[in-house]
């Protein structure tokens, strides 16, 4: 279980650009939850994920993961139990290293600072088996450098690397937004398959309202640094895009503005 308690984060404090990115954000995430996150421009969606991952320290509040207070834990230490996939397919893999070398780093997590060989016969066999189960055709390209892969292949590889050692929490930050529609569908179905099969607690930020409604068991909408809507169970299952937008307008008295939103 993950608990976010009254989290505040202000960027550029005491400047004209002051931005209260997270304003008393609280959220309780149950084990096995697959939460989709939507929200208007600057709602704090990515800031929330970055705060959980430890990219920057938060101003106040607490982050608790499985009973452990991780508020002050540095990013690389949280990585032991948090998997991440970024929007930019270039961010999740080391481009001038090979597929098997990248997989090895994910496989070794969090014991990446050991003097054992990064690759051996056994590991190569495991990686090959692993890739065989995926519709990417990468199982015979283990020694290909990752920079030669397409954005979609790299993103799928990042997803595999983030979940290879089952994380306690998986953070997906618009991970299909930079992909063409066809590849986005592939990566999305891969996401659902991996998350369901391994019962990984997941938070997925998306601009695609259709994906947000279809995927996962819980949908939250953020606005001005806090959560304004939390839909689960029956209500989530029967939700439609017009009803979602209506509900937002009723709650906030303003229109849902997101210049990147995909309605369908």
């Amino acid at each position: 279980m993950v608990i976010l308690e009254h989290i505040h984060k202000i960027f550029h404090r005491n400047t004209p650009n002051e931005n209260h990115a997270l304003a008393d954000l609280s959220l309780e995430i149950q084990d096995g939850d697959f939460i989709t996150v939507i929200g208007s421009n600057g709602a704090g969606k990515s800031t929330m994920l970055n705060a959980i991952a430890g990219v920057f320290p938060i101003d106040s509040g607490r982050i608790i993961l499985d009973g452990q207070d991780i508020t002050n834990l540095p990013e690389h230490k949280r990585a032991a139990f948090i998997g991440r996939v970024f929007q930019d397919p270039m961010l999740g893999t080391a481009p001038s290293m090979t597929i098997e070398e990248n997989l090895s780093m994910a496989y070794a997590r969090p014991n990446n600072m050991s003097l054992r060989w990064g690759l051996d016969f056994n590991r190569r066999k495991i990686f090959k088996e692993y890739l065989k189960n995926l519709p990417l055709g990468l199982e015979d390209r283990l020694t290909t450098k990752v920079k030669l892969l397409s954005g979609g292949q790299r993103q799928a590889l990042t997803l595999i690397m983030a979940t290879m050692k089952k994380p306690k929490l998986l953070l997906l930050d618009e991970h299909t937004a930079a992909l063409d529609p066809k590849t986005a569908i592939l990566v999305n179905s891969l996401t659902e398959e991996i998350v369901h099969k391994n019962k990984i607690t997941t938070i997925m930020v998306t601009h695609n309202l259709e994906h947000a409604i279809k995927m996962g068991n819980r949908l939250i909408m953020m606005h001005k640094g806090r959560i304004v809507m939390d839909i689960k169970g029956e209500e989530k299952a029967t939700m439609t895009i017009p009803r979602l937008l209506n509900k937002f307008e009723q709650l906030q008295g303003e229109k849902f503005v997101d210049d990147r939103v995909m309605l369908a």
């Binding site: 690389h76 780093m105 600072m113």
Partner: protein, 317 residues
């Protein structure tokens, strides 16, 4: 007049041998530069200080009567400490990579003078690791060709360092270092402290560089406080020549390329100096010119390739 411009075959062979010796002994330094510039993507200027540091430490210890092998080992440790200093300045004090290296390099100038107590420590009539090796082999094999001690030792030693480095870069921690230079965000999200990875890389790099300095001091018979000037450029030249000629398909090829690049660099300098138009004091200028050529040559190569195919020629590519 004209015949003065060209060298004969009789001059070429000793020149090749000399270039090979220098290429290999400075190649150990170039492998250190390879770690920071190619693996970590860290522009480390500590080099110009850690190279003479290794020489100063080794020479001072040898003159004080210590075993040359021990002295050379201590030089490695001293270089490693200098690397750690730069690493901590960069990661803990948040000083940029260039400036951290410059700060360490500058402070090392004074430190090197302190270590030697004077600007120059001659090693004439001192036993060095080469004289020890030469004596040892002469004893068990009377007809041992002592004039080839250097080249034989340098081949064995430079390849040993290359193989050790190759092996290190294939371990889990080696992967972490390579990823730190390649994509720090990625390797952080795989649980690696990139600050630690940088410091480890700088320690190893400057250890190698000081080791090379110690070997060079014993090879040329003195340590001098000014011998570090331009070391980084020579190291970069070797790395860049190696990279543009042999590519970086695998680690094995890359590090071999660095050693061959170091040899080619020394050979081209020796060749230019032998034309007698240039004099020894032009060395640093020539070094810079070689680096500029090595850096720009790949661009010209690309332009030629495209136009040779009869296709479009991209003047600015």
């Amino acid at each position: 007049m004209l015949q003065n411009l060209f060298i004969t075959i009789f001059e070429l062979v000793p020149m090749l041998l000399k270039s090979a010796e220098q290429g290999l002994v400075f190649g150990v330094m170039a492998l250190g530069v390879y770690i920071t510039f190619k693996i970590l993507n860290f522009a480390d200027l500590t080099v110009d200080g850690s190279f003479p540091l290794g020489a100063a430490v080794a020479a001072s210890l040898i003159v004080s009567g210590y075993n040359p092998f021990f002295a050379t080992f201590v030089a490695f440790i001293a270089g490693a400490l200098a690397g750690a200093m730069t690493g901590l300045l960069n990661t803990k004090a948040q000083i940029s990579d260039l400036l951290s290296g410059i700060l360490t390099m500058t402070s090392l100038y004074s430190i090197n003078l302190r270590i030697m107590g004077k600007p120059n420590t001659p090693l004439l009539n001192q036993s060095t690791i080469y004289s020890l090796i030469s004596d040892f082999f002469s004893k068990i094999w009377p007809s041992f060709p002592t004039e080839y001690t250097y080249i034989m030792f340098f081949i064995v030693f430079a390849l040993l360092i290359k193989i050790l480095l190759d092996a290190f870069l294939k371990t889990q921690i080696g992967f972490a270092l390579r990823a730190t230079g390649d994509n720090p965000q990625m390797i952080r999200s795989q649980g690696v402290n990139t600050d630690l990875a940088k410091v480890i890389g700088l320690i190893l790099s400057n250890g190698f560089i000081a080791l090379s300095g110690a070997l060079v001091a014993q090879y040329q018979g003195f340590a001098d406080v000014g011998m570090g000037v331009g070391t980084i450029v020579a190291g970069l030249a070797s790395v860049i020549i190696g990279d543009s000629l042999f590519g970086s398909k695998t680690i094995f090829i890359s590090t071999l390329g660095v050693l061959l690049g170091s040899f080619l660099y020394r050979f081209s300098i020796a060749l230019v100096l032998s034309f007698r138009l240039a004099q020894a004091s032009d060395l640093k200028l020539l070094t810079a010119i070689v680096v500029i050529i090595a850096l720009t040559a790949p661009r010209f190569k690309q332009t030629f390739k495209v136009s040779a195919k009869g296709g479009k020629s991209y003047g600015n590519s």
